[in-house]
């Protein structure tokens, strides 16, 4: 766990309410794994009070060394403040935190599912998998409310992903919910993917996990929770999970420490 002030390289709007922020922090860049996250202190005053959790969107080991990128969506006070930050300013980072994604076998076929801002941690995962020598095939199902949510698709194409787009308003790709189209698509496949990685809103994650369970695909889901500390000290980021041997029920795991990536089977869904 490292605590550092990181210089901002750039902070640019990429869509209606989505921003890319480039940061330099070699110590963290050297250690962080796909799916792990950072607790970001936006400024050293007391409003907002708490750090905010963000994933690493892409890693740029070389230009400049130890730099990476966050993709963030403006949803409230903290993310609004982030938009005011400029190149040269710095933010305080705590990380790498949590349990990231486990990588697939050499010749494993990979399915990724993203809902809205859930795309954030997947490019770094995709880069890592592609670099790991894994053969694929690679498929990304990416759903959003509108076309404005469907960012960085080209990057997945470049990495050899077949990208399937879905929007609730039909403004891009198929119309409707990503999960329903995904279900139909899976039904048509004669070879099922070996691993499924998914990140998105709770209801999406639930149907993805249920789908995966039905079809016997092992699923790894990056879950969200409101967080106080990010390190397992405050017990505020609870996610209901299957109780381990002898533990009482309900059993609450810490998303920040036991996750954010969970196996679909671990989670007890509301």
């Amino acid at each position: 766990m490292i605590l550092r002030n990181a210089k901002i390289l750039f902070n640019k709007r990429v869509s209606v309410d989505l921003y890319h922020m480039g940061l330099v922090c070699p110590d963290i860049a050297a250690k962080i794994q796909p799916g792990q996250f950072l607790m970001v202190r936006i400024q050293d005053r007391l409003d907002p009070l708490l750090r905010r959790p963000f994933a690493v969107h892409r890693l740029y080991p070389d230009d400049p060394p130890g730099s990476f990128e966050m993709l963030y969506k403006v949803v409230g006070r903290g993310t609004q403040l982030l938009t005011n930050m400029q190149a040269g300013d710095s933010v305080n980072l705590l990380g790498p935190l949590g349990r990231g994604f486990r990588l697939p076998e050499e010749k494993g076929s990979v399915l990724m599912v993203a809902g809205g801002i859930g795309i954030a941690p997947l490019p770094y995962l995709a880069e890592t998998i592609a670099a790991s020598g894994c053969q694929g095939p690679f498929v990304l199902w990416f759903g959003g409310k509108t076309s404005a949510d469907l960012v960085c698709v080209q990057h997945f194409n470049d990495l050899g992903f077949a990208v399937q787009l879905v929007t609730e308003d039909g403004s891009k790709g198929r119309k409707g919910l990503v999960t329903s189209h995904l279900e139909q698509w899976l039904a048509q496949q004669d070879e099922l993917p070996e691993v499924l990685y998914s990140c998105g809103p709770y209801p999406m994650q639930r149907s993805v996990a249920e789908m995966a369970a039905r079809l016997g695909i092992s699923s790894q889901l990056s879950m969200e929770a409101l967080m106080g500390c990010g390190v397992g000290a405050c017990l505020s980021c609870s996610l209901r999970c299957r109780p381990p041997e002898g533990a009482q029920d309900p059993h609450y795991a810490n998303v920040c420490q036991d996750g954010p990536v969970f196996d679909g089977e671990e989670i007890v869904w509301d």
């Binding site: 766990m1 202190r41 009070l49 405050c234 996610l239 609450y252």
Partner: protein
């Protein structure tokens, strides 16, 4: 002044002797392991671990936390691994540390408090107990022990009757007159007082029109409550004969100094650990600098030095 002048931060809280007055507050520092990479526990005056109960507790359903202006609401529901797991899994890591370890404990009945005290007494590696009396007394229809002098007295006597460890009683601010509770637990034999615990609060999500916390009500902590905490510490030090540990909203050495000046012999840092993990180390260094700048050598020279000009106190506003 020369930076090498000998500065002493040592404080004596009755039976408890601390190398410095800076502690971490229960529930905000886990069991020490979580932050160990950034905050070597040995540097702290003392470490209060997450509150434990006889049996493990699942805690409340999420959401359990919400940020407010200058503070945060939490309703963890006292989730904890329980006594046995604490002794078997957590204490062994704590035992070798050269830092006083204070175990924060709570129960649903006076009996549970008593049993916990007996079980923890004489355990190597435990240097004191902190009784969290801000818990609902199931036998008294969920009214919290800490809001009734008689119930508070019973809990503290029960614990004292079963342990020789230094006993800290942690007071809740959700009372009309905190000095009444302070005197009651003092009569019951508490060695030390700590205050304040969180202030009961609430927030609502306008989209869903549901409470931000599944438990509806939660505990407010952080800088927003500092003025309330400081006032209560000042009220309590005036009436109590036992040493007082001040906490509530401390995020800086300046905050810590305010509590020491009004009369707290030590302080605890809670929520600030989340925001700025090394905050306790910064406070310790800051205290040394403060003394040095004033040509003082001993932290005790500033504790309780609040100067009240003239003019009638008495609260009117």
């Amino acid at each position: 002044m020369a930076n090498d002048s000998p500065i002493s931060l040592t404080v004596e809280l009755g039976p408890l002797r601390l190398k410095n007055p800076v502690m971490v507050a229960s529930g905000t520092f886990g069991y020490g392991q979580e932050y160990a990479e950034l905050v070597p526990p040995e540097r702290l005056g003392a470490m209060v671990v997450k509150g434990i109960s006889l049996e493990p507790r699942s805690g409340n359903p999420p959401p359990r936390i919400w940020e407010t202006c200058g503070g945060m609401l939490n309703s963890i529901g006292l989730q904890n691994v329980g006594l046995r797991a604490f002794l078997e899994e957590k204490l062994p890591w704590l035992r070798p540390l050269s830092v006083p370890v204070i175990v924060n404990l709570f129960g649903n009945t006076v009996e549970e408090y008593r049993e916990l005290a007996s079980a923890l007494d004489g355990q190597e590696g435990i240097d004191g107990l902190e009784i969290n009396i801000s818990c609902p007394n199931v036998k008294a229809g969920g009214m919290t022990f800490g809001s009734d002098p008689e119930m508070a007295y019973q809990v503290v006597s029960a614990v004292k009757s079963r342990t020789n460890l230094p006993v800290i009683t942690k007071l809740t601010p959700n009372v009309t007159d905190i000095t009444v509770i302070a005197k009651a637990v003092e009569d019951a034999g508490t060695d030390i007082l700590s205050l304040i615990n969180t202030v009961a609060g609430m927030a609502v999500d306008l989209q869903t029109r549901q409470p931000r916390l599944a438990n509806v009500v939660g505990g407010l902590s952080g800088p927003a409550i500092k003025p309330i905490a400081l006032r209560m510490v000042w009220q309590v030090v005036q009436v109590s004969k036992v040493p007082v540990i001040g906490l509530g909203g401390i995020v800086s050495v300046e905050d810590a100094l305010e509590f020491l000046i009004v009369g707290a012999k030590a302080i605890q840092v809670g929520t600030a650990n989340f925001i700025n993990p090394p905050v306790t180390l910064e406070i310790i260094e800051g205290l040394e600098d403060y003394l040095r700048q004033r040509g003082l050598e001993d932290i005790n020279e500033i504790i309780g030095t609040l100067e009240i000009p003239e003019g009638p106190p008495g609260t009117e506003h």
